[in-house]
Amino acid sequence: AKNTDPVRVGLVSSKSGVFAQQGEEVIRAVQFAIEEANARGGIDGRKVEVSEADDEGTPDAGRRAAEKLARDGYNLLIGPIPSSISLALAPNLERWDAAYFVVASKSDKITGDTCKPRAFRTNHSDAMDIAMIGEWAKNFKEKTYASIAADYVWGHDSSESFAKAVKAQGKEVKIQLYAPMGTKDFSPYIAQLKDAGVDAIWVAEIGRDAIAFVKQAQEFGLVPKTRLIGHALIQNFMVAATENALEGTQGTTAYTPDIDTPRNKAFVAAWQSKFSRLPTDNEAQAYNGAQVMFEGVRKAGSAKPADVAAALKGASIDTIYGTVTMRAADNQLVLPNFVARVKPMDGTLRPVIEQTFAPNLTPAPSALCKM
């Protein structure tokens, strides 16, 4: 007889804390994916059940929430935003008999030294973004640049990769600034950026800091005079929170609804009919992660984490990004990557893809990953 155990999803994300807004998007999209799957009769006849928990945006609470879900049988985990939580979960998956699908954390360590057979990343890694910067920078027109980045690993990596990429084009980076996370008042940085008198500014800031920076840059007349180039800057929520300050800004993007694949078209249509708006980048990535998870269940013919993990290793999967591979060496989904620009489109201001970089730009798996 066919085994039709339900698929039990442990949805852990931020309902409170600094990442509550992104958490809300992730939760909405995963629930959407689950409803959609159940409406189609489940996954190969398996009903999908979900249990939710709040990770409060911290590794400790996240780990606690995930452990509880996993031990209660909701052991296909998905949802945390910051890399710290993903890194805190990964080492425990065997102990909890769980598998984990990363949909938002970008740290290279997740597929590097902390890589685990049961942890899969379905979104872009930092390394993938950075690899793209080199290619993308070839098209930059401006002569002088500055950068402002969040003062932690990601910001430094971003800023340095950018500097390397533009210097390789024989251009100049005049100053590289790092603002502490949680900076409220960017005026000292904006003053320096204005003073530097550059043609364009690379911005690698996240969340509230990014919003504050953009708003204050506009207040001081830094934008629109000087062009901003964004690393993970032109996300939907950013555009919404900064009124029109980001209009015309170019930057990396993980997803926009314009991606031309059959599954994406179907997804966007279904989403629009339910929510009467387009999905955001965070929502689409979370949806994508859930799809990968379901695909694993389908391929394994089982909802057991160990089976799902085994089935996904090296698998080729049809996603909203087209048919892509779950790389066996580090469990990284090898995705295309995008550069977009914020434009008015069908009455709303949103990122629109300008340039697509093929999956083969993805750097080779880290040597630190030993599974």
Partner: protein
């Protein structure tokens, strides 16, 4: 409390732990309890400082996180075996605690709390911005060896075993502290807490006892940090953040710090309550906040205080009543 009573209580506590470990089969419950016990150790550290020095620390997460970072870094660099790493890390915490203590205990009242908060935040920010080994804001995993103190990791990490280990540590710490506070050291620190100036005038130099209590509380907190590192295998700057200290302080006050074991009780209540909330409510913050306010308003001496009052109600009228009628 007499020594006999103490050993009896200790024995009873150990038996209760064993019964829990043997009878509770749910991994969820055991791991929740383990978590609670780890924070109970942390809370006892914070409570000790409050009880014995009258000082409120908003920065003890520093020592909790430092334990994880210390061990994590040592293991990552392969400097020494894990067992030694634990000892060295704890010794370092005690020494650093003493040195910090010598400088900061002179600051009075709530300013002391803010000072500890500032020091803790400095370490938090430094850890967040670090790159390389510790992984900065992303945190680092702790590579425990496959056997620790001769026990294989998979055995050690089994929920019932880990729970029992943490329980024994907790009971051991409470016992040791109780013994220590019965000694002269206990009276001296109490005297200094009550009236520092007068203490000097009866010949007590007050700086060292205060710093010693601070160091001791840092050490106890560090032990909690080691257990946490073992349980989670991961450390990140959030473990140094003041909000963690604040949360622990909450456990201390809810549990009641006049009794040594009060903070531990507070930790357990905190985790159980939070767990229930997590299941049923999207508004856990508000519910939690209201519950916190309610407990504090209606039970000023914490749960431990309320329990003790209940017990004393049966016993004879307090000594004062008997005296004032002379």
């Amino acid at each position: 409390m007499s020594i006999q009573r103490m050993s009896l209580n200790t024995l009873a506590a150990l038996v209760i732990g064993a019964v829990i470990a043997l009878t509770v089969s749910s991994g969820t419950v055991l791991s929740l309890l383990t978590q609670a016990i780890i924070y109970a150790v942390f809370a006892i550290g914070v409570g000790l400082l409050l009880r014995q020095n009258g000082m409120v620390s908003f920065g003890h997460a520093l020592y909790f996180g430092a334990a994880g970072y210390g061990i994590g870094i040592i293991l990552q660099l392969g400097l020494m075996p894990a067992e030694l790493a634990i000892v060295v890390t704890l010794a370092a915490i005690a020494i650093v605690g003493l040195l910090f203590g010598l400088v900061i205990v002179r600051v009075p009242g709530i300013a002391f709390g803010m000072l500890t908060l500032a020091i803790g935040q400095m370490f938090f920010l430094t850890a967040s911005r670090a790159r390389g080994l510790t992984g900065g804001a992303d945190g680092m995993s702790i590579d425990w060896p496959s056997t620790l103190f001769g026990i294989s990791q998979s055995v050690l990490l089994r929920p019932a075993n880990l729970f029992m280990l943490c329980w024994i540590v907790l009971v051991g710490i409470i016992l040791l502290l109780a013994l220590l506070l019965r000694s002269r050291f206990g009276s001296i620190t109490e005297a200094v807490r009550d009236n520092e100036e007068r203490a000097r005038f009866i010949g007590i130099s007050t700086l060292l006892p205060r710093a010693a209590v601070y160091a001791l509380s840092a050490l106890v907190t560090g032990v909690g940090g080691v257990l946490s590192a073992l349980n989670t295998g991961f450390i990140s700057p959030e473990s140094l953040h003041w909000s963690l200290s604040g949360m622990t302080l909450m456990m201390v006050v809810v549990g009641g710090y006049k009794a040594l074991w009060g903070p531990a009780l507070g930790a357990v209540v905190y985790f159980l309550f939070k767990d229930i909330l997590g299941d049923y409510a999207d508004h856990w913050m508000a519910i939690f906040g209201i519950a916190l306010i309610t407990v504090i308003v209606f039970s000023p001496t914490g749960i431990a205080g309320a329990l003790q009052k209940l017990r004393f109600r049966h016993q004879a009228t307090p000594a004062k009543a008997a005296v004032s009628s002379h």
